[in-house]
Symmetry: D2
């Protein structure tokens, strides 16, 4: 019995996270082979990360075969799991996603805002090609998609590729469980949150500790300033009024929608002080790779945690473990709705608690959305559909619709100006336009 | 055979419009009695308008009995039609609806924005009381609701009063047909527009002249600057990009959502120059009532047209005519969805082409909403539901949700500040809070 | 300005009906050319009917060009309307549709029962081919489908052919209006029935005379034995209990579902006495064609009325007239649901009151189905989908599902026996199997 | 920490099953108190069963307090679980449910057919009263409803009582898993079946063994004659054609719908030979109670298994265990749909795999129903709604609709005759009529 994992974008600075995760779970999820795959431009990073991974595995003494390559098709042969953590255009593109909108007076969010739209437009065609390869070369493999905007990308793959074994993952739901556990003085594994909504637009409707309802305790603490943001998001806090009126646990990304002016101000200030997040990350990465090169380093360095992707490895490994072992436990993933949220199309991808078996995730019903947020959730899904459509057709008019129907942009004139600027800036990575 | 029409808010400056409409259609829709009803505060205006209406009818030689009164219950006896054109709190309240949001940096729109929310909160309880009276005193009567926000108010009445014979009307759809006819050099009666959406959020999906599709001609002209706004809205024009991408005919109120910054700027400037629209209207009304007092005036004065309600009378009289004569013609009204727009709840009120018979309106199916705007239309409906809920419960938290989920407000902190200011300003007319 | 009508199956004994209808409406719907089309096997009948039609037109003095041909593609050039009244396999096939089920103890109904399933299986591929020709040769033309099972066939065309201008018609709704008018002593044009459901499974929910509700009067009379069946159906009457409990006006075909045993007995008896309906019709047709041959006959002979298709001509001509003249009047047709009945798929074909314009029918909303019959209507639609699927795939298993899920068959073993017998009997006309 | 279980209908011959189940699971689900409740007429049985239960518990040495009483309200105090296993009218009523329909030529099925309708009409009012008591006296308690027709009764309670903690259970799904395990030579706990549909109308869509798909193996074996019926149903086998065409695993009750004639014949024959099932059960019960009286009997007697309720105890205890221990495992229960089957109303009760926690069941999404059976499942649900409505209103016309819209009855005249006979026979237990 073998388990082969292929990591697409294997030269990423995140890779040591996932290597560590695989090593730590080896008793229950005994991966036998890992292949790190990257593209020509990432060759150097791939070499550095590959060597570090090799040292980590050697130190662990686990019987895991490791290799790294630029030949994706070769790597995919016999794969059981394919994880994706790519960044089309690299941090340079991300920097543009963040900087150009800010220059036009809009939030340059790399997931749901204008930046996120362009990240999707660049990424979807590349991952569709991957999905087609997977379907041909290793149709039995599960694709675990980390790549943002994870919900949009996963829906695009499920709707437009022949490969249907695709699951989107994000660390936000786990982050929320973790932070909630912290303020309730318990362990994350005891905490169950009823999540409703979409990736980066998910709310917690109920919080249970060992089955007992602690929702109101948690909401009270959140309205008193609990910070449960990941490292890459500065929390602005939530007003008591908002929390009491919605009776929902927001996720860190909700600040973009309900604290727009404050976030815009904060982002502009940050830009002046440190450059955009992409630029901060570039510096972080640079020093991380310096660390990685050290031939004495045989562990994931502590500094990686500042990078912002905490728990990504946990989320991914735990998902693969449950699939492999047919655990039928409950995890929060991005998968087809199938009626779980009756207001959304059955073939939408939602972020939802799901039972995970060897056959993948099956969502647990959410039931009717709360009146307070059903309008926004539906609108975000409709916006996501417009993004996917634009990424496939490459029509200017479809991309414009995605911009003008995004709640962070919306202005019929401003949308065009910003769209034109971003299309120009990213043209090398948008062959479909 | 008698036809009795009761005009609630009969002291309004609009009344001569409706009187003229009744006189002009008397051959097909022979109203036998009109009663103008108003409240104590409107007594003086009622007297002036009543006298003018009396002179108009006398001049027309039509056998219409006219009276005016403050006794609503008495007036409702044997009524066949009850039209509502009230303004709870008068122009003073409207002025606050417009001025206070502007002071906080938000559009003070009296229908869908913060102003509109408060107009709904003040109006719904008063009209629910009227609807209950109608149901008891003249259950056979049709209530023709002109009162803004007309869609929200009509849904509130249909959901929360026992009286189900309520139809909401607005002059915007007719205005759009009229303007379209103008640019196509034809008569409005030859023009049919497929309307989709909600009151003040309705789009035209197709334009037909005598059954022939002229949609693209109209869209082209609109993107070249066609102005089809009613007198009370300054059109900012629509970009070619927006029109081409949506392939939809926007209504004049869409500028609030897609040209927010420009409108805000324009409104602030207008405020400085002329005060808010309420204040302009107050001056207009003052001079109108001076005209009305003239005992030699026996016609609707031309100056009334500047008031902005063009076609209201046409819309209302034409609707009552079709009901009375079981015409089975098609008119655009606000009525229960019943599946016409499958994405919206069946008991939502939508603005929709409907077949009008003695049994009221039956909507013609719209079918699936265009992907481009389905998110926004759904969100607006969800927002409207929040407003209705707040108007019924009087809970602070429900009013807050209506504010924070409105696309023109949205900020979790700003919503509260603005809400508090408006609740304080309007407290005399919000007994439920 | 020309109007060209192509009649597919022009050699049918019904053709004089439609010729008469065209002549009578020539003032408002001035057809300029009629082409009767048939297949080789119908050549002789076509010649007879063509000659009669020619004499009728000559007598009428209307400027209508008439021809008949076996060359369908040639005939379709420049067509504006294409009507279909074909019978694949002729009366011989119909006789099998009726006789074989009866031999196995099932109703041999030629529309919804086992017979109807096989009529659909034989007909759909042939009409799909026609629809593809129409789409290529005269894409502007409206196809008016008379061919039974009209609802199923129309849905098959709308789902599986590129041509979307297809309308299904049936004389049952008009028949119901006509009979209702008779018992209420008024004219059919004054009667409006709210129809709900599917072709041959449609109910009347409300009956209005000039907009006044006469539903309970009509229901009372129906439960007292009113017969409003067309000539080809012997009415068994409806019990007071059934009518009161459902509060709905059944159509003549409902006896197959709610009076199954009695109908089966009646059909078996009729079979012994006169043979199946097909055989009765064959004799009728024989004598009709004898009449048609008479060179002095220049009118539709009275004897045609016994044939059972009363009003078909009226229904079709009235539909084409409203399309041509953009009348926006209301007619009952088989067209896409689009939410009119929210419980059924949006792309289902339903039988529904629709506004008829130059752009075809747009259904008026029906709203939620009555609880009493929603289960049956939904099930019939699901059954119809199975029939369509089988007609396209030609899979044995799909045909079996259509049989076993039909409420008149249903038995898992009996369905197979009957299916095998019918497949064998009709194999010449089922190339897809 | 205490756990109190109240058994309504505690004098039933089934009670030793549940007592044994509680004893066997005491290590993980430590019940501290059991109260058996019955009505005056059941007093004698209650005493016998109570004494046996007492001996069983004593022998087990578990610290469980046991009592029995006719005072339901007293018994409910502090209850944590309330199980219901009542039979309004006793076996005499059941005998009529079975015998009278057979006399009229209909299947006398005690769950979905005419018998089932009357069982529902008698039972729902009694259990609604219980649910109201529970809600007042022990609102924290979960009601575990065993009483047939379990799906209909559970929906009635969830829709019409204030108590929302109600779960319906049936042994059929477990039976199917058990039988499937047997033919696959594995243990039931390794088998997972994707169930779709309604109580006694549930299908298995997929069968997994430890996550591996064995559906086609199972279907093949079923079509070769696998018998997986409970003791109270004689399996007639399923044809290969039916199994292949539907690709679904039927449940034993499906024979009533798809093998109607054969079942009717079998039932009539059984009636002549042994009387109805009720009469067989009465004899069984008589001998069981003779056994129960034996003061030396301290265990559930083996003979109870012939009674037909195998696994009931397992199903119920396992459900309570998972609730108590917040297990988040998956069990098949009757609970609110919430979108799990998108074609059915969100507030329908369906039989569905659900995650069981301290907060009750949350269904796992089923997704779109198979085209082959969606019509029948929808129709059965619509029929169930009619039964519930009739049980609440007590209107003759509603009961008639339930009869005439049931697929096993359906005839408009026969429905009335049978209805009248059953109403007369059961009048003492139908106070609402």
């Amino acid at each position: 019995m073998t388990i082969k994992l292929v990591v697409i974008g294997g030269g990423s600075s995140y890779t040591p996270e996932i290597i560590e995760g695989i090593i730590l779970r080896h008793h229950s999820f005994p991966v036998t082979e890992i292949v790190l795959v990257d593209i020509e431009e990432g060759n150097q990073k791939l070499e550095i990360v590959g060597q570090l991974a090799k040292r980590m595995i050697e130190k662990s003494n686990k019987p895991i075969k490791l290799s790294w390559t630029l030949d994706r098709k070769e790597a995919l042969k016999q794969a059981d799991f394919v994880s994706t953590q790519i960044r089309v255009g690299g941090l340079t593109a991300r920097s543009k996603d963040e900087r150009i909108p800010l220059q036009h007076g809009y939030i340059g969010q790399e997931t749901n805002g204008a930046g996120g739209i362009f990240k999707a437009l660049r990424t979807i065609p590349v991952l569709l090609e991957l999905a087609r390869d997977v379907h041909e070369i290793c149709p039995q493999a599960w694709v675990i998609n980390f790549t943002n905007p994870a919900g949009i990308v996963t829906e695009a793959l499920l709707k437009h590729s022949p490969h249907k074994k695709v699951i989107g993952v994000c660390n936000i739901p786990y982050n929320m469980r973790y932070s909630t556990a912290e303020i309730l003085n318990t362990k994350p594994k005891n905490v169950m949150i009823e999540f409703i909504g979409l990736n980066h637009y998910v709310f917690g409707r109920k919080v249970f500790v060992n089955g007992v309802d602690y929702t109101s305790e948690v909401l009270t603490k959140v309205s008193q300033g609990l910070d449960y943001s990941p490292a890459n998001i500065v929390n602005l806090g939530w007003s008591k009024t908002f929390i009491e009126a919605t009776s929902l646990l927001p996720n860190p990304y909700h600040q973009y929608y309900f604290q727009t002016a404050a976030v815009l101000k904060k982002d502009k200030q940050a830009l002046e002080e440190n450059g955009t997040r992409a630029e901060v990350v570039r510096r972080l990465e640079k020093s991380l790779f310096e660390l990685y090169k050290n031939p004495d380093l045989c562990d994931k360095p502590k500094e990686l945690e500042e990078r912002g992707g905490a728990f990504y490895s946990d989320v991914a490994c735990s998902l693969m473990d449950s699939i492999y072992n047919n655990k039928a436990d409950i995890q929060t993933v991005n998968t087809l709705n199938k009626g779980a949220i009756p207001e959304l199309p059955e073939d939408s991808v939602i972020e939802v608690n799901s039972v995970i078996t060897k056959n993948g995730p099956q969502p647990i019903t959410v039931g009717a959305l709360p009146n307070s947020v059903k309008g926004h959730i539906y609108q975000m899904k409709a916006f996501e559909e417009l993004v996917i459509r634009a990424s496939i057709t490459g029509h200017y008019k479809d991309a414009y619709l995605a911009m003008v129907m995004n709640p962070l942009i919306g202005d019929e004139v401003g949308s065009k100006t910003l769209l034109d600027a971003l299309l120009e800036a990213h043209k090398d990575y948008l062959p479909q336009f």
